[in-house]
Point group: C2
Chain length 170, copies 2
DNA sequence: CCGCTTTACTTTAAGCTTCAAACATCGGCT
DNA sequence: AGCCGATGTTTGAAGCTTAAAGTAAAGCGG
């Protein structure tokens, strides 16, 4: 019987009126923390890529995708994998072609599509950057234990599934 | 004495030639997964903010900071809290002033600084958006258990500390 | 009080990003 | 063959973002 007042208090506090119809504070805090972690790492990687290799993060990311697919990728492929809009990729590729890091060539099977590939220069530069990059990332996660890394990996896997369900309702 | 060979093997594997000087693959995969989660959520939030409220994510984020600080914030405060460059905030605030969502006023104690505050319109609109936003986030994390949320929170807390040490060497 | 460093902000150039609209091509269907 | 919805790409406008350089004011140590 003396449990009830506690529940009421929780819903009745001033937080209720000012916050919204439900208390999803925990998830919100979780999201903000997730965003903070990503922003911190991303910012540092961006800074170091520019400082050490004079390259932007989007250029690096695009080259990373191409490095994983030696047969080449279409603009749409790249767009899906990088999770950015397709119009974005057009300009990014334009600039990478101009600097000699990638090539565009017409697809042989689809006259709408173009296949983008790393040039030798592009691949060589990417390898150098990727080496350094891998070390930076390792450093940033260095304080996590082996189990910490595994646990985080698993939890983020579940998060990804959860987000996918909520967004694509699939 | 028989420890030595193991260390050599570690550096001598074929991963060495193709990957870099150490195998930090796990951390790299973890980072990519973290980035994927954030990108998915951020993209969906951006899309919904635009669709339902015709507002951009940076504008929403800035208003969120101001909502948390009713006394107002200087441009530098905002810049630090949002973890974006200071030049960025100038333009963002300009546009928010133009649309009547925030006010700039000179600081009374520091003639260099300006205090930015939400207007009544800004606060009202932010509240509406924040309500919806909180629900969206809750939905996206809905498949995580209570413990999952707590564990993730804790692990990301440790990650944040680790990143901070690696970046600011402090 | 002067000079120096730091802090607050603005400006510019270059690049990134999205969205929406336009266009070409593809593939299936009749 | 011809239509039609889906897919691949480009374009343009608006806005976001950073880095770097510049101005102004604050604060500190002589």
């Amino acid at each position: 019987m003396d449990r009830l007042p506690d529940d009421i208090v929780q819903l009745d506090a001033e937080t209720f009126a000012s916050e919204g119809s439900q208390h999803h504070r925990e998830e919100l805090r979780l999201w903000l923390r997730l965003l903070t972690c990503t922003t911190m790492i991303e910012g540092e990687v961006r800074r170091r890529l520019r400082r050490d290799f004079d390259v932007t993060l989007p250029r690096f990311d695009l080259m990373a995708q191409l490095d994983k697919s030696p047969a080449g990728l279409t603009l749409s492929d790249i767009s899906k994998r990088m999770m950015v809009s397709n119009g974005n990729i057009t300009g990014l590729v334009d600039r990478l072609v101009a600097s000699g890091h990638v090539t565009r060539r017409a697809s042989e099977t689809d006259r709408r599509a173009q296949v983008i590939r790393l040039t030798e220069l592009g691949r060589a530069e990417f390898r150098r950057m990727a080496d350094a990059h891998e070390g930076w990332i390792a450093d940033m996660f260095a304080e996590l234990t082996r189990d910490g890394v595994d646990d985080l990996m698993a939890l983020l896997g579940r998060t990804k599934d959860s987000v996918r369900k909520a967004c694509c309702n699939a």
